[in-house]
Symmetry: C2
Subunit: 202 residues, 2 copies
């Protein structure tokens, strides 16, 4: 069981697949392309994954797992160092931006597939999405309970909105003004979160 070797191969396949699928979409990316980019024979793909679909599902699980961990860590870090729940939200925005900057392809691919219906990996995607969103909802709920945020807010909807705000702003940043610093982008989003856009002027 040379599973270190195998693991390295799988990793190469993930990396090859993620960029190709982000660029072209799942269906128009061929297994031959993935194998070639990974520097591996086609058969190896099928030795390591049951099917093209399966490769993709495992890729999704793998990627969202990284995101969830990173969000959770950011939130816990903020709280541990004496921050409020709003600080935790802010830290999660930061972590989200960092994740997207680091794995732009994965993010593209995730967004492209998230709301598609009738696809084989639909249920996997929903599961994995729920895990990520739950992290945000939890902090949002805690902030409301602690009186930091208005108790009129709709937690799940606001979590979605925040998620979308970060997602779209970050993808646009990467696509259209990649030169800007992450601090810049973070500041703009923070401002929105903290109500300093449409709120009373300071």
């Amino acid at each position: 069981m040379n599973s270190a070797r195998r693991e390295a191969t799988r990793q190469k396949l993930y990396e090859a697949a993620v960029t190709l699928i982000a660029e072209q979409g799942f269906s128009s990316t061929t297994v031959d392309e993935i194998a070639e980019r990974a520097g591996v024979a086609k058969g190896t793909v099928y030795y390591n994954f049951a099917s093209k679909n399966d490769l993709f599902e495992e890729l999704l699980r793998h990627g969202v797992g990284l995101l969830t961990a990173s969000l959770r860590e950011a939130s816990e870090g903020a709280v541990a160092s004496g921050g409020s729940n709003v600080d935790a939200l802010d830290a999660m925005i930061r972590a989200g931006l960092e994740f997207i900057a680091r794995y732009p392809s994965f993010t593209q691919l995730y967004v492209a597939e998230l709301w598609r219906t009738n696809r084989a990996w639909q249920s996997t995607l929903m599961m994995v999405r729920q895990e990520a969103v739950a992290v945000v909802e939890k902090v949002l709920g805690a902030a409301v309970d602690a009186g930091e945020l208005s108790d009129e807010i709709d937690v799940p909807l606001t979590a979605s909105a925040l998620f979308g705000m970060v997602l779209v702003a970050a993808l646009d940043w990467q696509a259209f003004q990649p030169a800007r610093s992450i601090d810049d982008v973070h500041a703009a989003l923070s401002r929105l979160l903290q109500g300093r856009v449409g709120g009373p002027r300071v």
Copy 2:
């Protein structure tokens, strides 16, 4: 000459294509399927459009055209009836939600393709996106000039963020809690825009 008959056929093809592509993606939707769903012979597709790609590009132009018109109308309506620029933004959020509720498939498909690189219709997509975003940016800019919004905000980035907020919240609404009323969703997003989430408590 674009006869009325021809236009009706094209319309049927758009409608068939948009749902199929939203569900399955562009590449895994076949021209035969589109023709069948539209109740039209395959040859008719090629009589009306140069290729599958061309059909899709025209579909994108058509759809984003509707969105842009609707945003512009909402914004102008708000201003004409004596509203502030922030009211105009709010009206545009509403219009965005209505658009997504009415054309969920188009929205899915748009999001799925927006950040993809290396696709034939990439430039078309960028162009139409820019038109839509410009409408939001214009109002945002006017609001800053009028002193309604902090002049520290980054207009393009905030426009993206707002766009993303509406987009993701609406898609999640449609996908996971379709029973909720549009007013409900609108209220939650308004609150975020107006800074009543993270801002000072009332």
